[in-house]
Amino acid sequence: MEKKEIVLELKHVRKDFGNGPVLKDISLQLHKGEVMVFIGPSGCGKSTLLRCINGLEGIQGGEILLNGKLISTENTKWSEVRQKIGMVFQSYDLFPHMTVMENILLGPVKVQGRNRKEAEQEAERLLERVGLSDKQRAFPAQLSGGQKQRAAIVRALIMKPQILLFDEVTAALDPEMVREVLDVMLELAKSGGTMMIVTHELSFAKAVADRIIFLDDGIIVESGTPEEFFTRQKTERAQRFLNTFIFREEKGGDEA
């Protein structure tokens, strides 16, 4: 990766819920336009890491810097930081009492104080980009899981965040819906978005990532390009992890 400015930096981050550390000593740098994908077994701390980055969880040690500015302090204005670090969750998290359009406008209008008309036009453009033009006035209950997730992505995008965090956004979706959401993310990645993605979709990880981080037991076990990671694992732990997937694929038989 050539020298690009560092957007986000983690230094020796430690997270402990009170019963042993979940994240032990995480250090990494995210560059502008980089797509970083976290993989690893369940409970390895991937989701927790994302939640720490936008302040949904506090950290017990280390530092998190956004554009060189320390954000892991007692008096961080998270409301401001979160406008720069957007997040999309696993659960269908649209607000059920609002239409898709109202869901999307809440942030720009109430938080950023933007002009409603202007925000609405941008929302329309973004909805078109993810193929949801006809769903502006629909309520979340009328959408499929995949449509909800795409709307949730637009809701995060319209804030014009510097970084987007995706926390297993396809994990709760029916298999047919997974693709439409991944396609949207792939398109975002290609158009230069800076992203951190937690996923279990390995082939997607291979396609979208600039760098793959393999986490296990709260530490970064491996970090490298997808090519390196999927063909020449450096550690036995990563090999074992990948093998479980290969086994599953052979058994299923119908996966490419």
């Binding site: 936008n54 949904l56 998270w78 409301s79 401001e80 979160r82 406008q83 957007g86 997040m87 969750f89 659960s91 998290d93 649209l94 607000f95 059920p96 009492h97 239409t99 809440l106 942030g107 109430k110 938080v111 950023q112 309520f139 209950a141 949730a152 809701r155 995060a156 804030m159």
Partner: protein, 225 residues
Amino acid sequence: MPELGIRVLFMGNNLQRLFTGLWVTVRISLIAVLLSMVFGTFLGLAMTVRNPLVRVTLRIYLEFIRIMPQLVLLFLVYFGLSKAFGINLSGEVSAVLVFTLWGSAEMGDLVRGASNCVPKHQYESGAAIGLNRGQVYRYIILPQILRRLVPPAMNLTTRMIKTTSLVVMIGVVEVLKVAQQIIEGNRYTVPDSALWVYGAVLLLYFLACWPVSLFARHLEKVWKN
């Protein structure tokens, strides 16, 4: 035909007296319900705080009020307070007090239940787009609590309206008491009036509760989408 008990309703100002009685019923209920909604909301939100002392205190209050029959509570306030402390509340004030105590407890429990129903990720999604705590509550949490709350709250309201008939026992002349007076007063001239007068009372209670149900149904329809 002219012997039918129904004519008692149209004798003198009987019908007007019944409506005056109904107004007493509605007045007590209305004040108690409004106060209960306000106090109940605070009570319900207070029940969700982590402080164990607050929780236990509120829990005891809730259980106490629930276990006690409303009639006992009415006697306790109306007779008990005056005997023990020399506080002489009028029947109507006692009624409003008791029904507010009861309504707030029930309402509090409904609010607590409804707020527990809003999933945690709704708070987080709100926070994730940069809303501050107050905004998350205002735009995301409270509207959802309110929607869940309407059906049971309306149910509680009609229950309170109906239960006010107990205040007869502490000497408040409301619609049921007026009905009794009319029946007693015409015992010799219209001996079969009971069915008709109580029938009319039934209708009046329906008249008081039906708009509440209609209102609830309307809100549910508006919010359904």
